[in-house]
């Protein structure tokens, strides 16, 4: 098991450097003069221009600039936002819990519902339920979620008035951020009703963000389950006289989960991309909204290192999924 993890870590390092190269290049590729772009004004005074070039290290050769960049990263220096003058890292860490909370809620929604629908559809292959699940999941898979969010807002918030339109919590409540997770923070605070309010704020964004993962997981679970149920070892399990539930869940689902788990991991990327859209629609104060606003404001340090952080996050999650995959599938674990 140890060598398995070590091998995966070995694969991580070049990928990480590749990403830094990418984000490094990102800023250098902006058409026009970098100082003018950064300062957001034309015809900067030549004196100041030279100073800025010096200060930003832009007068050094490219490889030296890259080494500087990686060196700063190694010291945890991600630069500071041009707009707020706070460090990119602290902005990221203060906003990330909101995105994480939303993503977890979306994944729980998608995972539970998707697994359930997929398993039942596989067991009742060819039934009306099966066709329904397949049809709905294909539609979910094709869904422009930014529109889906607007439709849900239109229906549940505007017409029915059940859920709030935007944000994480009503302005009435003053919740001190402790964990950054609104659901937990509201429970820790003594504001009455704030937890339910936070939950109501969370529900629509989570559904919107979870829609595509839900569709993918349901489809994948179904096809994987169908394949596994045809396997000889499922017949063996039935020949042992085990109950149908045990055959399906212990012998079937365990093996069917292996490919689903991979897909689940891949969905984390989709999820973060979806978070950009979902957070924009629901004014959810997370890193997706932060990034889009930074792009709009040409806040390049935030764009550059925000993207770096998100990429690292995706790599990390995929790494964890890989490891979990090893646990779920003994054949992989023992591979030399």
């Amino acid at each position: 098991m140890f060598s398995f993890i070590a091998r995966r870590v070995g694969l991580l390092i070049p990928t990480f450097f590749g990403i830094t190269l990418l984000t490094f290049a990102l800023i250098r590729l902006i058409p026009g003069d970098p100082v003018e772009v950064m300062m957001g004004e034309r015809r900067v005074d030549p004196e100041m221009h030279a100073q800025a070039m010096e200060r930003l290290g832009l007068n050094k050769p490219l490889y030296a600039q890259y080494i500087d960049y990686v060196g700063k990263l190694a010291h945890g220096d991600l630069g500071e936002s041009l707009r707020t003058r706070t460090s990119v890292w602290s902005e990221f860490t203060s906003l990330f819990p909101a995105t994480l909370e939303l993503s977890i809620a979306a994944l729980i929604f998608a995972g539970i519902l998707g697994l359930l629908a997929g398993v039942i559809a596989a067991l009742k292959r060819g039934s009306l339920f099966d066709h329904g699940v397949m049809g709905i999941s294909l539609a979910g898979y094709s869904m422009p979620i930014f529109w889906w969010g607007l439709i849900l807002i239109m229906f549940f918030s505007v017409s029915l008035g059940w859920t709030p339109v935007s944000g994480r919590i009503d302005l009435l409540y003053d919740i001190p951020p402790k964990t950054g997770f609104m659901l937990i923070d509201t429970l820790l605070s003594d504001e009455e009703g704030s937890f339910m309010d936070a939950l109501r704020h969370l529900i629509l964004p989570a559904i919107v963000l979870g829609t595509i993962p839900l569709a993918v997981i349901a489809r994948m679970t179904r096809s994987s389950m169908l394949e596994v149920l045809r396997e000889d070892y499922v017949r063996t399990a039935r020949a042992k006289g085990l109950s149908p539930a045990r055959v399906v869940f212990v012998h079937g689902l365990r093996n069917a989960l292996i490919p689903v788990l991979t897909v689940f991991g891949l969905q984390v990327g989709t999820l973060l991309a979806g978070a950009v859209l979902t957070e924009t629609i629901f004014s959810w104060p997370g890193i997706g909204k932060w990034l889009i606003e930074a792009i709009g404001a040409r806040d390049y340090p935030v764009v550059q290192n925000g993207i770096l952080l998100i990429a690292c996050l995706v790599i990390l999650v995929n790494f964890v999924v890989d490891i979990l995959y090893g646990f779920a599938n003994p054949r992989i674990r023992h591979q030399r």
Partner: protein, 322 residues
């Protein structure tokens, strides 16, 4: 009173008009007996036993006049009652051991599962019993093997594990569905020896589904020859081998090198097993039978007593009584 008594078993896939895969099969197995079922692929050997075990799934339909095992009619039991018997008193070993074990669980888990389900053993007792079972199927280093995953075992080892699982409930009937077909030639004999040794030791009945007539000659007391879903001849082993009554049995025997008496080419039966749409209205073998007569093409023979065996033929061979 026989341990297993099957009367008029039919298995179809699809609606009632579908061609039966098993067609009016009668079969009895006595306590402690070794019965071999032979026939070419698709003749319904495995399906018969799967039906008995209750492993036929939708869209398969199983009907029978009687499917009595150990005094209980399997068809009248509900699913829960049947599961008490299946895997315990009656168990099965399958063809391909490499796919028959669940790749996600250790050998020990899969054996203990049976012990827990049928004997209520768990913890240390189950562990101990699982170890004994692995030793019984002659797996070297049994204690370590309990923690092994199926992909770490060879085909022969896997089949031994599968056998250990099958005998865990001390069954009265063990069904072995071509247990050696997927194995290396050198391993085949070992597995057969093991099965026969266990059969004698535990005094269980063994139904051996096989292609290999040489194995049948050495091991079985009785043999049932199947063709296109029907039993065409059932008889004692030495007898049927010496004086087959059914032309199909004769043809099968003629295809064994040992029986061919040095002929330049092994004898073959022309044509193939009738499929869904070309089932003859008369004897199912009539299109291929070298001895076919008009009656065979018009009427279907029943499985009737002949001089040395039961055979489904109007004009049986070798009827001289010595």
């Amino acid at each position: 009173m026989s341990l297993l008594n099957i009367k008029n078993l039919n298995v179809r896939f699809g609606d009632a008009t579908a061609t039966p895969v098993v067609d009016g099969l009668d079969l009895a197995v006595d306590k402690g007996e070794v019965l071999a079922i032979v026939g070419e692929s698709g003749s319904g050997k495995s399906v018969t036993m799967m039906a008995l075990m209750g492993l036929i799934e939708h869209p398969g339909i199983v009907t029978a006049d009687a499917l009595v095992f150990d005094g209980k009619d399997m068809l009248t039991l509900n699913a829960r009652q049947r599961r008490k018997i299946v895997g315990k008193d009656m168990s099965m070993v399958f063809q391909d051991p490499m796919t028959a074990l669940n790749p996600s669980y250790t050998v020990g888990f899969q054996i203990k599962e049976v012990l827990k389900q049928h004997l209520g053993l768990s913890g240390r007792a189950a562990h101990q019993r699982a170890l004994e079972l692995l030793q019984k199927v002659e797996i070297p280093g049994a204690a370590q093997r309990l923690d092994a995953y199926p992909h770490q075992l060879s085909g022969g080892m896997s089949q031994r594990v599968a056998i250990a699982m099958a005998i865990a409930g001390e069954p009265k009937l063990l069904i072995a569905d071509e247990p050696t077909t997927a194995l290396d030639v050198t391993i085949q004999a070992q597995i057969m020896d093991l099965l026969l040794a266990l059969q004698k030791e535990q005094d269980m009945a063994l139904v051996l589904i096989t292609h290999d007539l040489a194995v049948v000659a050495e091991t079985a007391q009785r043999v049932c020859v199947m063709y296109a879903g029907q039993a065409v001849e059932v008889g004692q082993v030495p007898g049927l081998f010496d004086v087959p009554a059914h032309p199909y049995s004769e043809a099968l025997l003629a295809a064994i090198p040992e029986h061919s008496m040095g002929a330049a080419r092994l004898s073959t039966l022309p044509g193939i097993v009738p499929g869904r749409y070309d089932r003859p209205s008369g004897c199912l073998l009539s299109p291929r039978c070298p001895y076919v007569q008009d009656k065979c093409r018009q009427q279907r023979p029943g499985l009737d007593p002949k001089a040395h065996s039961l055979a489904r033929c109007f004009f049986p061979l070798n009827q001289e009584v010595a």
